[in-house]
Symmetry: C3
């Protein structure tokens, strides 16, 4: 039996319920929905990197990456990312930020598939991203 | 070639279209979006367990579990669950119900990853959940 | 190390950001969110098949299929499809179209699992679909 391992970067705030920020089992790695929270500080509630789409998008992508790395993976292993935005008018800017971020990550493999939809999120949050990776 | 098997618990209403409540192929098991419908009764239309978030959340989780078990899996095998709520104000209560439910399931492995977003659902439904499991 | 391959049918418009229309790695194939765009024509912006749910649903399903086939897969390999609609009132008609389409595809295996939720999409688009397939 292959063990399922929780991926919990030190930078991450405690999940608000019984779920893991990421799990890996064999060569499958799933990253839970990440938002733009800054690295956790003891005694402080989760705090977004800032009110703007730029701040939140870059922080969210960094949070996804931290979980991938905790599981021995990286962006090159990601098969699919799901982007949840709250406003259709944010699509073009999110794409620019996403492209800028991924350029800096120097992928050696083709980029992941992606779906972007527009949903409700908790107040103050503009973006949420989760990811499925296949390692090896 | 590995066969793809449909997972159709006896408790479940017939899907309203050509999809399966769950499928398993090799060690991958996917549960379709479940809602809080009570066990099917012949000649009756699908009926939610009740109008409250509590009733629907617990029934929905039971419906997910029935499909996992039909495929020889359980909560311990679940890598990811996706929770769709209709109202941001339901988040805290859903978490309480979810925690209460999972405590009763006595997981021996780490909990799954999770994403929660706020969407529209058919009238009267407050929650929908799907799940991806990796067995073995 | 297994290579991750981008699946880019000739019919498809260039993605608006650094993502792939589909990726395959080993036996896992992920199709990115597809919409009802007609086959790409050089120098023309992406154009929906038409304003109606019928036109867009059938084109979207055709676009998903093109990516599956680019990866050596077909509908029989699909484990999960996610359907994003913009209007709860479109559910019944989408189901009819979806059933009609899949009947024409002559599946030899059980149909995939499915989740349908109601979200916002870019102006003029009524449906988006992505898919996860397991080959072999």
């Amino acid at each position: 039996m292959t063990e399922k391992v929780a991926l919990t970067p030190k930078t991450h705030t405690t999940p608000p319920a019984k779920f893991s920020h990421g799990v890996r089992k064999g060569n499958i790695l799933q990253v839970a929905g990440q938002v733009g929270f800054l690295p956790a500080e003891e005694g402080k509630p989760p705090t977004p990197a800032g009110p703007t789409l730029r701040e939140q998008t870059l922080q969210t992508l960094a949070n996804v990456k931290a979980i991938l790395e905790e599981g021995g993976a990286g962006w090159d292993d990601v098969m699919m990312i799901r982007v949840y935005l709250t406003d259709v008018d944010h699509f073009a800017e999110m794409n620019d930020l996403y492209n800028e971020y991924l350029r800096g990550e120097n992928l050696t493999q083709v980029p992941p598939a992606r779906t972007t939809v527009y949903v409700g999120l908790p107040k103050g949050l503009l973006i949420e991203i989760d990811a499925l990776a296949v390692l090896g």
